[in-house]
Symmetry: C2
Subunit: 173 residues, 2 copies
Amino acid sequence: MSNLTTHELDSPPWLRVESTLMATARLVRVAFDTRLAPLDLNLTQASLIGYVHEFGATTQTDLADHLGIGRAAIGSVIDRLQARGLVERQPKPDDRRVWLVAITESGTELAQQINEVDQVLRAELRHGLGREERQALAWVMTRLQQNLATAIAKTPISTVSPTISTTPIGEPI
Amino acid sequence: MSNLTTHELDSPPWLRVESTLMATARLVRVAFDTRLAPLDLNLTQASLIGYVHEFGATTQTDLADHLGIGRAAIGSVIDRLQARGLVERQPKPDDRRVWLVAITESGTELAQQINEVDQVLRAELRHGLGREERQALAWVMTRLQQNLATAIAKTPISTVSPTISTTPIGEPI
DNA sequence: GCAATACTGTATGGCAACGTACAGTATGTG
DNA sequence: CACATACTGTACGTTGCCATACAGTATTGC
C-alpha cells in the first residue's frame, strides 16, 4: 500500500507534463479503487453504477462511450455487476439488438454509498486548490484533449526528416 | 484509428475531472504510440530509451521508478529492447545483483529519432496554450498528486456513515 | 418488397501492467 | 564469523482493456 510511485512528487527536472499526467491518472485510479474496495468495486464499476443510477437505463454502447472504454470491455463489466444483482439487462421494446442496462434496488443502495465515497475523496482532492484553479485545470485539459485528438487523427509522415534537434527536452508539454 | 472517444470533448455536464484526467492520459498514450509506431516503439519503450540515452546506464529498479511502472514490468520491456539491440545489460562491478541498462549504438540513433517525434508532437500539443497555462497545469497536477498520495495512504474507514448526501455530483474535482 | 449498409452486443486472442513469491546477493548486527 | 534483514531481478498467474471478427437486428435506398 505504501508502494506508491512517490518518486514523481519531487519533480525531477526531466519530468514532462505527459508523465505527470499519466502518473496522476494512475493515482486517481488507485485512489478511487482503494476507497471503493470496501464496497468490492473498482472505479469503472462504480462509474457505471453511478451513471445508470443518475441517468436511468442506458444502452451498452452509450455506457461504453461515456465511460471511455470499448464495447467489448463494457460487456464483462456488466456481466459481473449483473451477477451480483446490482444492475439488470432489460430488452428494449423497439430495438431487439440492444440491452438497456438498468439499476436494481440493491444497486440503488450501493449507489448512495458510492456517492458518499466519491464526495469524501473529492473533497480531499480539492485540498489546497482554489475553485478557479480547478476550473483552469479542466479547461487546459479539455484543450489538450482537442490537440491530442487532432494529433492522433493526423497521419504521421513516415519518413522522419534527418534534422537532428539537439535541444534537450526540458520544456513542459 | 478514428475510433477515438471523442465524446469526451463536448464536456457533458456530469463530466468530472477524474474522467477528463484519465481520458486525457489515455489519449496521451495513444498519441505517442501512434507517432512512435513508425519506429516500432510504444511510449514506455521510447521513454526508457530516452532515459538511458540522456542519463546513462541505469539500474532496472531505478528505471522502473522513473518510468512509473513496476520492476516486473520493466524486465520484459528491457528484454525486447535488448533483443533488438537497442539497449544492453551490463553487470555492475560492485553489485552482482543488478544489471546496468545501457544504450547501444543503434539505440543512440533511434533515440534521436525519438527525440524528434517527441518534439514535433509536443509542439502540436502546445497549440492554443500559453506558457503560464501549461505551468499552471503542471502545478495543479503536482498538487493533485500530493493530495492523491495522502488520500491513498490514509486508510479508509470501513464503516460508511449513513449520512446520505443528496447533492448531485456536479462540482469538478 | 428486397438487397445493401449500418449498428449492437459477444466471443476470442492479445497485450501491458500488476501483485506475489522466490532465489541470489549485499548489508548490517550479534 | 554467522546470522538476520533488505534489496534486485525474474517467474508466474491475474486483471483490465483493446482490436478484430462475427451473428443478429435496424435502417436505408431502389
